[in-house]
Symmetry: C2
Amino acid sequence: MFEFIPPGTRFHSLPSPFAMKYGKELHSARIAFETWGTLNENRDNAILIATGLSPNAHAASHDNNPAPGWWEAMLGPGKPIDTRQWFVICVNSLGSCKGSTGPASIDPSTGQPYRLTFPELSIEDVAETAFDVVRGLEIEQLACVIGNSMGGMTALALLLLHPDIARTHINVSGSAQALPFSIAIRSLQREAIRLDPLWNHGHYDETSYPAAGMRIARKLGVITYRSSLEWDGRFSRIRLESDHPDEDPFGLEFQIESYLEGHARRFIYQFDPNCYLYLSRSMDWFDLAEYADGNIMAGLAKVKVKKALTLGARTDILFPVQQQEQIAEGLRIAGAESTFIGMDSPQGHDAFLVDIARFGSAIGNFLNDL
Amino acid sequence: MFEFIPPGTRFHSLPSPFAMKYGKELHSARIAFETWGTLNENRDNAILIATGLSPNAHAASHDNNPAPGWWEAMLGPGKPIDTRQWFVICVNSLGSCKGSTGPASIDPSTGQPYRLTFPELSIEDVAETAFDVVRGLEIEQLACVIGNSMGGMTALALLLLHPDIARTHINVSGSAQALPFSIAIRSLQREAIRLDPLWNHGHYDETSYPAAGMRIARKLGVITYRSSLEWDGRFSRIRLESDHPDEDPFGLEFQIESYLEGHARRFIYQFDPNCYLYLSRSMDWFDLAEYADGNIMAGLAKVKVKKALTLGARTDILFPVQQQEQIAEGLRIAGAESTFIGMDSPQGHDAFLVDIARFGSAIGNFLNDL
């Protein structure tokens, strides 16, 4: 129903049934992915990218879809992730609405969308499906797994569950467990959707859609994805040209409000609300400490890679840089040659998408040294 | 209608008509206030407290209302604001629903609540009404004006508009202008209320009330009033005793969610939604730079006091400590003996309400030295 699949997407069929962490199983499920570059003869130059909550698998343009991707400046010939050297795979997360099976997909047993009958989704499930895509491409070991934001969680889960799946790891603005501030933000985003009467316990359609809830959820997302430092410089107190342009006494007045409104409008009808709820909750549940009797450093110490780079922005309030320092330290304890770089990017959690000068050079240097 | 007036509240009648900054006027309006201690013969031992958005004038217990106030630990005999020495006045803001005239009050010209016909409200209006209360008590000059959060804005406006009204000033977690991150948060809180169909353009009542919008607004408030640092230590990933206690698949699961829910439930029906909208917007509009051709430091330089103390918490994301540093610097340029103290309190913007060890000793020391 509300699925949004870019042209040129490829699909991988998951084993059927596919068992989920919390006990249920999926039938005839699939994962959307895209690739760039060429797998070499040894099949050892592959890089996997695990994404944040909302992106599709279209990280960058390619012959089958020339539209710019969400990491266009990072990925391509001569770019930091250089597709002349690497075979790059980006997977759309299980539970998403961008081509992979999720709550907006048709349940083959009923012929109707899953909606809230979709099984409880975990980050580990997302990781297992990415693993299955890699195996489906007949790749024994990745040169590197890169994960951004939620994808940083997915990558850690993948490395923990499949210790030999990758030689190296780049964790970008990720975390090894959800902490209460980010849980609070995500819980409130979900509540805004659930409180919208048009959400209707997941039974919305094109004519009756929880746009108000999605609007609040997205604006709250954007507020926590950026930083006050960036906005002080970018928007300050600049007003829109006419006060109260929509003739509403409490309507848009400042540029910052118009910026949030633009982001919301581009998102509301481009992401399925139920998928949003499932993916958001999977992040709250994620905790590597589960695998080590509640000890997060011991959990990280079970993640085996030869070499790791962990990056974060010092202005990130959603995945604060202390969480990336923790990942780097844990991987060092686990035996990796592990580097942490905290960036002075003003753009907060989203810095990896826009501050390519800082994030691109760090990632490019790491990959060039492999 | 939705007015909540503590017992023992006193009232001051404003001049009628009372002219508002943005051009309209109020008739037969009043301000709620409470006092502690005794005004001395010289009438020069008075301290005025200007509050944040939501508090009433009941800052502490007194004979006419023994219930603890919102700053109980700060104010009283032998406490940092020692009522054996000082005559303390706390005013409820114009536009509030705690006894002062506001959108929930009856418009004498119609006999109906003002709702959205209440005039556009500014921080300067709040300051002018506080000034009128002080004059009504026949006080020529205050020993000190103390403002917290929004009250820090009110205090600066009062000092700018009435240069001799106070000898000294304590600004607590305030700011001299609203910046885009806090505007974004408040704008989203207002939007959550406005998007609730039961808000009905301000025409709600007891049986049809925008509880969902108020719930989202309040939870977002609490998230930005505290800090991730405090919550990491206090809540971590602790779960409620039973998962999904309300049998809702996306219901409360973590302690942090239950904490937010408790705060929301205590607030939703205790604060009038229209009053919330008006007071919230008045903060977005506040900008001392308006008085100095857009130069914030020049605006602050027009605020005349002999001695000033500016306090803030380093974990405050809503009124970041840089804004308190700016106030202190501006008052120094203006000629005050001006001190800034950035506290390492973990509790964020709310630290002044709970970290009495730090904030109380700073305020007590400053007042003792007068």
